[in-house]
């Protein structure tokens, strides 16, 4: 037997105008287990709340029903009243007779009748409510940042500066990411290295940051506040604890590898640091290029290393970090444009992709900053083709957002470094951003030719061997253009890292169809994910430029902080649980849960739910054929009882 109190709010005339509130209270009093039923002008006012609190005490109420506005409005208000009166807050039921009754009808009879039905359902449901307690868990104060590009660096530094311990995990042997490859940054044209390398060094110097290069996440266990993340340290074959970064080894090494940093435009050694400002400044051995690993002898590096740091026997090792939150900032790849055979990338030496061109401009690049092509000549005419693979239903539907701007930057740099004619083939110019439109206007002034039309094909010139012809339709004049040039620059689509889906699986993130990580809410929670405690920043979420990436990184750091600043956190109370006696071991729950909360206990043949991961959606309860799953606060019995109550009148 329950002792239910029903409190009907007039909300001034908001409710009372189309619902006979006192009649409703009288009706409530006739319902089984209702021991007190009252109506009052403003239930949410202080006297209203006090009335409820008094009645809880006086009538020893164990359930409270507030018949008023939407629960989305004042559920929290009244829950606090219950808590303060020593009653579990989940024993409150709100009946929404304002938004869903009084405001949507003019007929007081209809309004009163519907309110009675709703109230009857609520009484039925209230009887079956159970007190719920949120579980409180300890929170690990440390954070892991996955990805050492500008987003990861920024987030790690922000967090470390608040005193948090941060694990910065980077797949490559240096941090810096794509930004380290750039020469200048738009629209200000400041030198990329000049603004990035100090940050990279700060990471190295920061005592709160554990920098883990050549590392990959291999397993993620646990939940918000308590993740156990296993990281694979890939063998570097150089003991970085012993190495003093003299780099004598890299001078003597006879091996030849392909420089990733220079986009394959030049060779590097087999034992190498990717670029002069790399962090850490310590080399690794590229197994595939190393003479010793290929032929079984050489070991020159070992001979010249005074520190005895070379270790050909080194193996991959695994270590597990405990952290409270994670920021994933794994960045992007450029789309491989080879399959787009119409552009001749990989076929004609005069066709470059955007990152290769970045390297050509760079003084530390393959050409020492001179714009010379693969044949060593300086181009006389250059075409920059926008939207290669982007805004393209056959490849990537999205706009990659940065290509217009970096293409303008390229145009400027070409003009600065060569005497070539520069042509932009574009669909639309998109220059939304602070100073971007101004930059666009500036480039127009620099005698760059803009052709509004997507580059359709690049072919070899029949008349002038070695030259290329760009074909396009100029959509302004409607004319079909065949433009002879020496150099073609493709601006390919940005796509998520090739392994983003693996990472999504590890961290239980959802991705869009291309593999970009999905945010929890596109507008109101752009940095959170559906996995509590895991945040995203930078291009792994969607294409964006450096300022946006940095802003996101700061935001993600702040979001992560909101979790790890607390020693303890409350978990959702309205979670699901499994009644093992009814579980038939079908594992439907395990298969459907987007959060990985249910898991199967092979030895017992039943499922269990990790309540720390559960968000209380109830999907598992509805796919459970034997009703073994109890979705707290929305149990089958509670829903059925409410339905029966609603249909009775």
């Amino acid at each position: 037997m329950s002792r239910i109190g029903v409190f009907v709010c007039h909300c001034g005339l908001n409710i009372a105008k189309t619902v006979r509130v006192s009649e409703l209270a009288q009706f409530a009093a006739t319902l089984p287990d209702v021991v007190v039923a009252k109506d009052y002008k403003f239930m949410c006012s202080t006297p209203g709340q006090e009335m409820i609190a008094n009645d809880i005490k006086e009538h020893r109420l164990d359930r409270v029903i507030v018949t008023a506005c939407s629960p989305l409005m004042h559920e929290q208000t009244f829950r606090k009243v219950l808590s303060a009166s020593g009653l579990n807050q989940y024993l409150l039921t709100i009946v929404n007779i304002r938004e869903q009754v009084s405001w949507v009808t003019h007929d007081i009879d209809e309004g009163t009748a519907k309110s009675k039905a709703l109230l009857n359902g609520a009484v039925n449901r209230a009887r079956l409510l159970a007190p719920l307690t949120s579980r409180v868990i300890d929170v690990n104060p440390d954070v892991m940042v996955v990805g050492g590009g500008i987003a990861g660096i920024q987030a790690a530094l922000e967090l470390a500066n608040t005193g948090r311990k941060v694990y910065l995990v980077e797949k490559n042997s240096t941090i810096g990411g794509h930004m380290a490859q750039f020469d200048k940054t738009f629209p200000t044209l400041d030198c990329s290295a000049c603004i990035l390398t100090p940050k990279m060094d700060s990471v190295m110097q920061n005592k709160n940051i554990t920098l883990m290069t050549s590392c990959e996440v291999s397993e993620v266990k646990g939940y918000v506040g308590n993740f156990d993340i296993t990281v694979k340290q890939k063998a570097r074959y150089v003991d970085h604890d012993k190495c003093n970064a003299c780099l004598a080894c890299t001078e003597k090494c006879p091996g030849k590898g392909v420089s990733e940093w220079d986009e394959g435009l030049v060779k590097r050694k087999a034992i190498y640091i990717p670029f002069p400002q790399a962090v850490p400044q310590k080399p690794i051995i590229d197994r595939d290029a190393c003479t010793y690993f290929i032929k079984g002898k050489c070991r020159l590096c070992e001979k010249v290393c005074e520190q005895k740091a070379i270790d050909f026997e080194q193996q991959d090792t695994f270590s597990t970090m405990k952290v409270g939150a994670v920021i994933v900032a794994t960045g992007y790849d450029l789309m491989d444009t080879k399959p787009l055979v119409q552009y001749g990338y990989g076929k004609y030496p005069g066709v470059y992709n955007a990152l290769e061109v970045e390297r050509l401009f760079n003084s530390a690049g393959p050409t020492g900053g001179k714009v010379t092509m693969r044949d060593g000549k300086e181009p006389q005419a250059i075409a920059i083709l926008h939207c290669i693979g982007s805004r393209d239903k056959n490849n990537y539907e999205h706009c990659s957002r940065v290509c217009c701007m970096y293409s303008l930057k390229f145009a400027h740099l070409f003009k600065e470094k060569t005497s070539a004619d520069v042509y932009q083939f574009y669909i639309d110019m998109r220059a939304a951003g602070k100073g971007y439109e101004e930059f666009y206007n500036r480039i127009i002034e620099e005698d760059v030719k803009f052709i509004r039309g997507k580059g359709a094909r690049v072919a070899e010139s029949a008349d002038e061997p070695g030259r290329l012809i760009v074909e396009a339709e100029d959509t302004i004049t409607g004319k079909f253009i065949k433009l002879p040039v020496d150099m073609v620059v493709l601006s390919p689509a940005m796509k998520p890292r090739a392994d983003s889906k693996d990472l999504a699986r590890l961290f239980n993130l959802s991705t869009d169809k291309y593999g970009f990580f999905m945010e929890r809410h596109p507008k109101l929670a752009p940095l959170s994910t559906m996995s509590e405690g895991i945040f995203i920043a930078g291009v792994c979420q969607s294409p964006k430029d450096i300022p946006d990436t940095v802003a996101q990184a700061n935001g993600a750091a702040a979001e992560a902080l909101t979790i790890v600043v607390k020693d303890k956190m409350e978990l959702e109370a309205t979670t699901a649980m499994v009644n093992p006696a009814s579980c038939c071991g079908c594992q439907n729950c395990v298969r459907v849960c987007p959060y990985g909360a249910p898991f199967f206990k092979e030895d017992k043949g039943v499922s269990e739910i990790n309540e720390a991961l559960c968000k209380g959606c109830g999907l598992c309860a509805s796919v459970c054929p034997s009703s073994a799953i109890i979705a707290r606060h929305f149990t089958n019995e509670q829903v059925l009882a409410e339905m029966e109550g609603l249909m009775e009148f």
Binding site: T105, G618, L619, M643
Partner: protein, 137 residues
């Protein structure tokens, strides 16, 4: 006396229930035949809820969820879509008038759509008359 149908609504907390609130906030008028049960997600809806609703005498059942792709829990409504589609086929094959069960995706900002759907559905149920097939008397 004219026939006043009883319609059971089951609405997800994040979209349709909020959309229904918005219909109220903007003072849209719609018939009072609908009684809404709030659940957290349309995927919470057990198919047996629908059968039960008809047994309890509902003349129509309206399920509301977030638009596919907008589910607060990511994929809940994508499961719900399949499960409720099968529920509908089962109802139909058992002899229940197909018009008595409807699923609508109504977002939190679609107060208008909510009111419109309720008006339309109530009218349709009114035309179908009382549901007697499943009702336990």
């Amino acid at each position: 006396m004219s026939f006043e149908p009883k319609i059971l609504g089951i609405a997800c907390n994040w979209c349709t229930y909020t959309g229904a609130d918005l219909a109220g906030t903007t003072r849209l008028q719609y018939p009072q035949n609908l009684r809404v049960v709030r659940v957290m997600c349309s995927s919470r809806i057990n198919p047996s809820f629908i059968f039960k609703a008809f047994q309890l005498g509902a003349d129509g059942v309206l399920v509301g969820g977030c638009h596919p792709g907008d589910c607060h829990y990511n994929t809940g409504n994508l499961y719900a879509r399949r499960r409720l589609a099968v529920t509908k086929k089962i109802l139909e094959f058992s002899g229940m008038e197909p018009g008595r069960f409807r699923v609508e995706w109504i977002s939190a900002s679609e107060g208008n759509k909510f009111a419109e759907v309720v008006r339309e559905f109530t009218e349709e149920i009114r035309n179908l008359g009382p549901q007697t097939k499943f009702k336990i008397s």
